[in-house]
Symmetry: C2
Subunit: 390 residues, 2 copies
């Protein structure tokens, strides 16, 4: 009997929309004018930051709306249900959805902090990163420490600042770092570079897994999209419907995963862990089989580890999650039953809210009880060091 | 009892290396000097064409070599086994491998003719395209019309020339067109454009499927590679090992497939067919489930067909193939048993030569006889209108 009452669902991928005071309440006084603040422009709420105006306050915040009304992002806070930006209201939305605990990614900063990475004023950007982390840990998660899981972003443009901030948030109780799935398109060194080793060391020491959310590197997959530099909150004007990119976003994480599997970083940092957020899991058996096939043939002459089989590395260093992935669930043992988690993706369009639990029960209908427990709860609690309170 | 003696294997993805006279024997006399010809340069055979020198005569032609010696492309014809470039010798290599019939993609032109697409002299390029097609049909395939399947490339830079050449090769008996999997990175309109409709009309009328070979659009997947414009025959000097790109090449075909599924072209041309060459099949169930999931939610407001379910379109318009894909074979009914074919990829590094038949028997060990017949032979013969001779 799958998904019974005693199974708590821990979602490893949800999203919050920042309220207007997140940065204004936290950055030094002299920076407040340039720091993110909400303006009223022709009846719309817009973010003003670092000299730019960003019309989208709640990118893809569609929870509670009819799909016929999707496609227009909310232009005022009142266009969203309060659970998008109010952590107390969110708890009630989670109750409705049957979700016990949630890991909430940023909105305005980008899932991996790309907004601050691209900003001109780096002194301000660093304060903005810290402010988001403090907001998330001290305000959002403090609302209910048993149900909200602390996450942090980093000043990705400077490795020393990354290390310092990672240490700071680890000490504050952060359970995971949201890092760009695609560093190279952001102008950063690839996962093959030793550039990141000091950060990996901190995360490994602190047992803080790295969450790679698809799209967090501001890279949009698909031939029609990948060449464009997306402007946050704006869809590029191209012929392909954006449904193509939405469908393909998990190919970002295929790329990130294979990069890491062949990077050597996993061997240098045995405790380093990566969570593939919103990537689905149905592609994993194919990518692992293909990785092993290529490794078997090309390890003889290429600069890749001769001894470390990619699929073994995956099952020691990666965690996948899904919303609605029947093929993945059916093939869960080819992925690794200890490495699969659930997500609800509230308030985005992939979410089944308010039916996440109901849909999970359907997808997991043929899965034995002990495996269901791992998938919906135990694996996430283990990865995030977020035990159930007695 | 799978893969019995009466099952002939028809491989839908192999490669030939052009011999030195392919173009010199065919282009008009005044063009011969600029047309592809082989030069002796410091003991190496190199292609000279359109003002450039191309050191690789047999890109990735490793058949018969120890993997420890891979990584260096052959520098002289004598470095390859003759079956790479001699169609009579190839038949013996196919006999060794247990392959009855083969579809052979180009080497020097690129899998989809990208070399001629990028050339400066377009008048010459058109003659070079025609010369390759004539060589392939009149010389290579004529060696044994029961075992070689005619394929053609197109002058992709001009839709009217594409249409004219497609009509010409259809009349000459070509069974498929090799077309770039990634038109956009080549500077061409995407699959969402009506630009290609006249070509799709010719192919649909002639029942000529379009073969999309991964990499045929000169697009190399992976964050470290996708931003680079690859130079044919040269690996870009970047930190990531090329094993990453080799592993990920099928993501190109995921992108191509999803582009086409959401393009509307399949609905406009019910007889249009696409073959995904060297893409593997293990990813298809995931991508179809994900495509349906996105279509179900986003068809209400996006410019996509409200009524045509992507997975239905796939099973009416696409054919996949594999070399060694246990996950795909296990999940073959989620793909479509009438839509899966085999490939041997001779003489490239993915190939199991001379054990293609032996390995196929292992992978198909648990597959019923009638399904094996479809996968190794009947589906390919149907797609390519290439019946077994009595």
């Amino acid at each position: 009997m799958p998904l019974q009452k005693h199974h708590q669902i821990v979602s490893v991928d949800d999203h919050l929309v920042e309220h207007p005071r997140v940065w204004q309440d936290r950055v030094p006084a002299r920076m407040k004018d340039a720091a993110p603040k909400i303006l009223e422009v022709n009846g719309a709420h817009q973010w003003s930051y670092d000299g730019g105006i960003y019309p989208t306050i709640g990118l893809n915040a569609v929870a509670g709306k009819d799909p016929k009304e999707w496609g227009m992002d909310p232009i005022r806070y009142e266009d969203m249900i309060p659970g998008c930006y109010d952590p107390a209201a969110r708890l009630k939305d989670m109750d409705l959805d049957g979700i016990e605990a949630a890991l909430c990614f940023p909105s305005f900063p980008g899932f991996g902090g790309g907004m601050f990475h691209r900003a001109n004023d780096k002194e301000l950007a660093l304060e903005c990163v810290k402010a988001w982390n403090d907001f998330h840990i001290d305000e959002w998660c403090a609302t209910d420490p048993a149900r909200y899981i602390p996450m942090s972003i980093l000043p990705t443009w400077d490795i020393d600042l990354c290390v310092a901030e990672a240490k700071r948030v680890a000490a504050k109780g952060s359970r995971t770092i949201s890092f760009p799935d695609a560093p190279v398109p952001l102008g950063l060194p690839s996962f093959h570079s030793r550039h990141w080793d000091p950060l990996w060391q901190v995360c490994a020491d602190a047992k803080m897994p790295i969450s790679l959310h698809f799209g967090s590197g501001a890279y949009v997959p698909g031939f029609s999209f990948s060449a464009f530099k997306p402007v946050p909150g704006q869809m590029p004007e191209i012929e392909a419907p954006f449904a193509v990119a939405i469908t393909l976003f998990s190919t970002n994480l295929m790329w990130s995963t294979v990069d890491l599997l062949f990077s050597g970083a996993l061997q240098r940092f045995p405790d380093l862990q990566f969570s593939l957020a919103e990537g689905g899991i149905g592609w994993i058996p194919y990518i692992l089989e293909r990785s092993d096939f290529v490794w078997e043939r090309h390890r003889w002459y290429q600069k890749i580890d001769f001894d470390a089989k990619p699929s073994d590395l995956f099952r020691e260093h990666f965690w996948g999650c899904f919303i609605d992935d029947e093929h993945g669930v059916k093939n869960r043992h080819q992925i690794g039953i200890d490495r699969i988690m659930l997500e609800s993706d509230f308030p985005h369009s992939d979410s089944n809210w308010p039916n996440s639990r109901k849909r999970a029960a359907e997808v997991l209908a043929d899965v034995p009880d002990d495996e269901v427990a791992k998938i919906v709860e135990l694996n996430a609690r283990k990865m995030l060091r977020f035990p159930r309170l007695a």
